[in-house]
Amino acid sequence: MALDKPYTNIPGTTIFDTDQSRKGYWLNQFCMSLMKAENRERFKADERGYLDEWPMTEDQKQAVLSRDLNRCIQLGGNIYFLAKIGATDGRSFQQMAGSMTGMTEEEYRDMMINGGRSVEGNRYIGEDGDAQPDRQPQGRTGGNI
């Protein structure tokens, strides 16, 4: 019997379950390696060469190189692991989270100061909230404000 997944109908949300974890095993383990200062230095000096030491898929490597966190998550990454890449780049959780919405750093920060993103219209795929697939990317540069 397949796993029960009641969480696949929420917009913009991937639950890190056993299937995602299996898919992203080496991507996430690569991220863990960046908790050591010497590995962060080696990665920064030659990103492609460092990634090639890991049995990751080419798609995963490209997603890391382009810092496309949405794609990383789709390919099995989890934000707490991916945060080690952000840390290596000197970026905060807020910068990382914001980067996944299409908003500029300032737009995302302002949204949070104004109370954050509303849950209204964002509970189920197919509602009319700002996290729905047809309204991406968000923010001025995404053309959806």
């Binding site: 960046l34 707490y80 952000g86 905060s92 989270a97 949070m112 954050g116 509303s118």
Partner: protein, 284 residues
């Protein structure tokens, strides 16, 4: 005999630690948050326990994908502060209480909860930020801390009900420890937040405040709330709130005693991506 005197609940946002460590805590953005903990720091000075049993989650720090314990009990004499990628936080090492932790392991495992016993575990912001919020920036933490890490990162994560029942077992364990220690149990994490995808930045003030209400006055019913409600209403990382039910399940009223005194309640949006909630409940 040992006794649980109070439970403390708080979010554990990493940016709060960074704000303190970098001396930004007097900036208006952060002052609004820290002002909600002024009462708590005085309360901690007046009610410093002998030991804190601190429920938190590891954020891919001590546990990679190699081992994923659902409930990890720290039984070591001390715990180093982790380098999460930005370098270790400049906070004191955490001193454990191996004797009480071992007693808890014995009692709780024999009550049918399959804890993982951990003798080496670096502790991350999930544990150190609550200590900073409640104690400020001391040279050494004023009391020993038993770290208790719950997996809320990779599904399946434990249910609210399981966490609440575990709290009851912890209470029984602590009450059979034969030294007269005052113990506090802390539940940390949450409140509403989502750190991924197009829904990043989600905050649900109404749901969070109902969670606080129910945690105080109807925790048994709150423990029945399924994971999917946390995720849909409070964001994918809002699932951390199940950990608060462990602390709540250990309070007197759950075992037939008096309802706790609500010494303090605070709620603030935002700290970085997150809604911050905080409660202090005292056994009477």
């Amino acid at each position: 005999m040992a006794r649980i005197t109070a439970s403390v609940y708080t979010s554990h946002v990493p940016a709060i630690g960074a704000a303190l460590d970098l001396g930004k805590d007097h900036e208006p953005y952060w002052q609004r948050l820290f002002s909600g903990y002024e009462f708590s720091k005085q309360w901690m000075r007046d009610h410093t326990p002998d030991v804190i049993f601190l429920v938190y989650n590891d954020h891919a720090t001590a546990f990679s994908l190699e081992f994923i314990p659902t409930f990890a009990l720290g039984t070591a004499a001390e715990f180093a502060v982790a380098d999460e990628g930005w370098g270790p936080r400049p906070v004191p090492r955490v001193i454990g209480h191996p004797e009480l932790a071992s007693h808890i392991a014995q009692s709780v495992i024999q009550s049918d909860f399959d804890l993982t016993i951990v003798n080496r575990m670096d502790v991350d912001h999930g544990l150190t930020v609550p200590l900073s919020l409640m104690f400020g920036q001391p040279e050494a933490w004023p009391c020993p801390v038993i770290p208790f890490a719950v997996n809320v990162v990779q599904y399946p994560v434990p249910s609210g009900r399981r966490c609440f029942e575990l709290g009851k077992a912890l209470r029984r364990a602590i009450e059979t420890y034969d030294r007269p220690l005052d113990i506090q149990i802390w539940g940390t994490g949450g409140m509403s937040h989502q750190l991924q995808g197009a829904r990043a930045g989600l905050i649900n003030r109404d749901w969070d405040n109902r969670f606080l209400d129910r945690l105080i006055s109807d925790p048994a019913a709150l423990a029945e709330v399924p994971h999917i409600e946390y995720v849909r209403e409070a964001g994918s990382e809002g699932i951390e709130l199940v950990m608060w039910l462990i602390a709540r399940g250990a309070m007197d009223d759950i075992a037939g005693g008096k309802a706790p005194n609500v010494a303090h309640r605070f709620y603030h949006v935002p700290a970085s991506n997150t809604a911050v909630g905080h409660l202090i409940l005292e056994n009477r």
